[in-house]
Amino acid sequence: MTATQSFQQLAAPLARAAADPIVAPVVDLRAVLPLLIVLGGAVVGVLVEAVVGRRNRYGAQVLVTLVSIVGAGVFTVIGGTQHHYALTFSGAIAVDSGTYVMWGVLLVLALVSVLLIADRVSEPGGAFVAQAAIRVGSVKDREATALATPMQTEVFPLTLFAVSGMLVFPAASDMLTLFIALEVLSLPLYLLCGLARRRRLISQEAAVKYFLLGAFTSAILLYGIALLYGYAGSLTFAGIRAAAAAGTGSDILLLLGIALLLVGLLFKASVGPFHLWTPDVYQGAPTPITAFMAAGTKLAAFAAMLRVMWSALEPMVTTWRPVLWVVAIASMVIGAVLGITQNDIKRMLAYSSVAHAGFLILGVMALTQRGASGMMFYLLTYGLATIGALAILTLVRKGDGEANQVSDWAGLAKRSPALAAAMSLFLLSFAGIPLTSGFIGKLSVFTAASQQGMGPLVVVAMVATAITAFFYLRIVVLMYFSEPQTGEGAAHVVVPGVPTTVVLVVCALATVVLGIVPSWGLDLMTVGQLIY
């Protein structure tokens, strides 16, 4: 007699006895394995921090982080190719083709970001503060910075927790899971933003801003969830969908609920006009974290938005689509126009991300498989290009810190032609020039939008793209057509460490390859029918 059989025998009378049985939720562990691996890796990371000696921590943490992300990636690929779909945890988590695509893209972006986070060459000791608890500007702080004391390795488990939150976010199939995932992904990011080694005050200011605004929107989102529960009497997407389709209940609850829920999601995706935190946080956060947020958070937020809108709120599409029209136009215009005025490259990239968020939202609005697939492709290519561009940003330095002013980049092509070429490639990809991956991303999203009758919006997006091209081009002009600065205050380029080199090569290759032969990439991104 096996253990299982004996357990069943014992449990049988219990099941019979309960008049109103609480059915144990069916848990499909295999479906959520990638999630568990990353969460497990995060927990192991915390233990490593407690157990392993200071000297070996960095190596152990990098190993744990990379292994857990790669392991999660492997099981994502296995699950995806075997079409192992499930609605598990009593309908709280949906694992379907869309989820696998989202996870796959997210893990790729996370892997590349982690490499950038792990680099300790371009910024001696790492981009993160040696001891976050030291007061800014104190003698100890200056010493730690000057001596290139190794960075705090808690960064790695924090990153893994954020990644696990990002993994749950787009897989969530009920509102509470959605909210919890949002918190799990946000809290580590708030911390990570404040850990920059240089310019610590700006970094901490960014963390506080991000935290306060983020907490505020979390509350708004939660209120929206509450109103939707009041309307539908259910927290699951299926329940809300059924109620919305039936049209019973108070419309005010439903509409307010949708509005508040959207605000929360749009905030995380840094869609204008809910973008106000973006430039400050992008500028203040340590550059590798900026890259991680710009790629990962954006992906998670858009993927989650797609699932909520498609699974739960599709019956109300005629109500919320006009609202998103306005939001999309606002986001494109804000990002494009304000981006022109920026002189700090990180802030400029932040506004560019707002403009791109405006383009991406067309993929959500389309509510078709084509739109969803196109959006995921766009997010992958945009994420890789952003990480690549920010990786180059860590290499161009002035004095001790990064040279973030646009003018510091004058004549970069003469000093390091390869970096200038890579940067131009990423910028051209942002601008959507053909034969770069950014173009295919735009094409797929805009085609999907056009098929749903959003032609005018596509035209607005094109005009916005032309405007954004202006400020991308400004950097190319400076790098190639200007004379480099010389003398004391001039920027210099450091030789990238191995991780950063890998990041740059991967990002540049992906940008070119996905631009020239996008077919296999597009095929991989195929999002089928969502489960709810």
């Binding site: 295919i440 035209v459 032309a466 057509f481 200007s482």
Partner: protein, 583 residues
């Protein structure tokens, strides 16, 4: 699967790559390698032309003579086709092929690029720039330009259209004149805005075709042509406006033209020649390739607008050209006037006018190419682009003067030069249906004579004068009529090959022998004569005997007119029936 066209696109690109890694080669070797790569497409153009000629009667005889009848499904409009799957998700194929229009344009590119390389052999580049990079970018530009004209998939056309910008952007921005950064950025942003509007239209075209075709959307040119008449007018107007905006910027038509004088004047001579001579033709080519056959109803509806812009361009371009003080800007403004003629030929929907427009595209490339190169040679010698700095150049450089005169006459379209044929065809084709526009445009010819002869007179005739010719010190003296007593020949200390002093005995008012004011430079070198001669020969040859070019253009012109849903005029009909009878 004919590998000719992929080779013609690929080989220059390979050449560009080679030039990128040629830093360690001797400059001379590198230049010859680049020249070799640029000659390959010219060699390949010969079999391409022959293959197309041989395929003519077979392909065009099968076309229906009425616009309403749908062409047979197996019909191939193009010769030397090459097609592989590229992005199946969007129904996009990497398809290449040539019809008469693209054939002559590709031949023009293949001819002009080696000439441009030869003319730029000793180009003085801005400090710190290598000639290897310059030649490499020119080769990359050649590959992309051939790609634009050879693409038979609208998507591929768009991709090449945008990719073409990048080498040109760097050519202007890195190798150009003083205001190169401004000019390069302006050029890029104008073109990119047009390109993005075209992308929106391209998506619209794809969606529209997906609505009509049961098997899904397509961007293949021939397949779109088959369903063109089924796209509703309102949709066509939307799609048309995006494409037309892109092409009007590129061509450029009047309100969108301001980038061209800046880009053309600041670009280095070689790149400027290709910009004005070939690259801008993508705009008018797009009208004929995409707007007319794929969006016939919209083309007819909005033809008046383009005729208006074209005629404004002809007159405005001519008047503004006459007022230019910068000799390179002058040439770009004459081009704007000529683009008016080409655009007019595109939008009157007669076979003669379309044939004329296509021939005009070739002829303008030859004539303006010659002029632009000569202007480049002149300004490289004098070091100034100001017209006022030159005078009496004929005496200093008679061969240059002669070549310039031929270029000028071709620009005015004097009978016996190639431009006469094309201008005449456009005007007669227009007059038959739109007499008012034709009459207005004819005024432009008179204006052309005014600006061209005036410039020629100011620069080349009269006594030798001007600071660029004589040097800043001598120009005052020579202008004042007094005789310099002693003057060190500048050429004695100069190592510049152009700066050959012309020393002639000169007698002053008192009968004393005194040195005549010495020019700082001399006539065209053997290399320069050699590279310009093919252009001069073609200008005269096509002026006398245009049949070899017209015979490949005519059928596709007739076809374009028929496909644009115009009433079939007698000439098209005769052409199509004649083909059938000849079989």
């Amino acid at each position: 699967m004919n590998p000719l066209l992929p080779l013609m696109i690929g080989l220059p690109l390979v050449g560009a790559l080679v030039m990128m890694f040629s830093k360690n080669l001797p400059v001379r070797t590198a230049k010859f390698i680049a020249l070799g790569f640029s000659l390959l497409p010219l060699v390949l153009a010969v079999p391409l032309w022959i293959a197309h000629r041989n395929s003519l009667p077979v392909r065009y005889a099968d076309l229906p003579a009425t616009p309403t009848a749908t062409p047979p499904g197996t019909l191939s409009l193009f010769s030397s086709t090459f097609s592989v799957d590229w992005i199946p998700a969007f129904g996009v194929r990497f398809s290449l092929g040539v019809d008469g229009i693209s054939l002559v344009m590709i031949a023009l590119i293949a001819l002009l690029v080696p000439i441009v390389l030869g003319a730029s052999w000793e180009e003085k580049l801005p400090a710190g720039r290598s000639i290897n990079g310059y030649f490499g970018l020119l080769l990359a530009l050649e590959g992309a330009m051939i790609g634009v004209f050879a693409a038979t998939d609208v998507f591929l056309f768009y991709v090449m259209f945008e990719v073409m910008l990048i080498p040109m952007y760097f050519l202007i921005g890195a190798y150009g004149g003083v205001r190169r950064t401004y000019a390069a950025t302006k050029f890029f942003l104008y073109s990119l805005l047009g390109g993005l509007m075209m992308l929106a239209s391209l998506i619209g075209l794809y969606v529209a075709s997906a609505d009509i075709r049961p098997e899904g959307g397509t961007l293949d040119f021939a397949e779109l042509r088959a369903i063109a008449s089924q796209i509703p007018l309102s949709t066509q107007l939307w799609i048309f406006s995006g494409f037309a905006l892109a092409f009007a910027i590129k061509a450029p038509l009047i309100p969108f033209h301001t980038w061209l004088p800046d880009a053309g004047a600041e670009a280095p001579t070689g790149a400027g020649t290709l910009l004005v001579g070939v690259l801008d033709k993508v705009g008018t080519f797009g009208f004929l390739r995409i707007c007319l056959p794929l969006l016939p109803a919209a083309s007819h509806k909005l033809a008046w607008l383009f005729l208006l812009l074209a005629v404004i361009g002809i007159l405005y371009g001519a008047i503004v050209a006459a007022g230019q003080t910068d000799i390179k800007r002058f040439v770009t403004y004459t081009s704007i006037a000529h683009f008016g003629f080409i655009a007019m030929g595109c939008f009157v929907f007669t076979t003669q006018a379309v044939s004329g427009a296509v021939l005009y595209m070739v002829n303008h490339g030859l004539a303006t190419g010659l002029l632009f190169l000569l202007v480049g040679m002149l300004t490289a010698r004098g070091g100034s682009r100001q017209l006022a700095d030159y005078g009496g150049v004929w005496k200093v450089a008679p061969i240059m003067g002669g070549f310039f005169l031929i270029g000028s006459l071709a620009t005015i379209a004097v009978p016996g030069t190639n431009s006469f044929i094309s201008e005449f065809l456009v005007l007669i084709g227009t007059f038959r249906v739109q007499p008012v526009w034709a009459v207005l445009a004819t005024v432009g010819i008179v204006l052309a004579a005014v600006y061209m002869l005036w410039i020629f007179q100011r620069v080349f005739t009269g006594p030798v004068r001007g600071s660029a010719v004589l040097g800043p010190a001598a120009s005052d003296i020579a202008g004042g009529g007094t005789v310099p007593v002693t003057r060190t020949p500048v050429s004695a200390v100069s190592t510049d090959p152009h700066r050959v002093a012309v020393a002639e005995p000169h007698t002053d008012a008192h009968g004393h022998a005194a040195p005549r004011p010495k020019a700082l430079w001399g006539d065209l070198s053997k290399r320069e004569i050699a590279v310009l001669t093919p252009l001069v020969v073609l200008i005269v040859f096509l002026g006398v005997y245009p049949k070899p070019v017209l015979e490949v253009i005519d059928p596709v012109a007739a076809r374009t007119v028929v496909d644009s849903g115009s009433p079939v005029d007698a000439i098209s009909q005769q052409y199509l029936i004649g083909q059938e009878a000849g079989r």
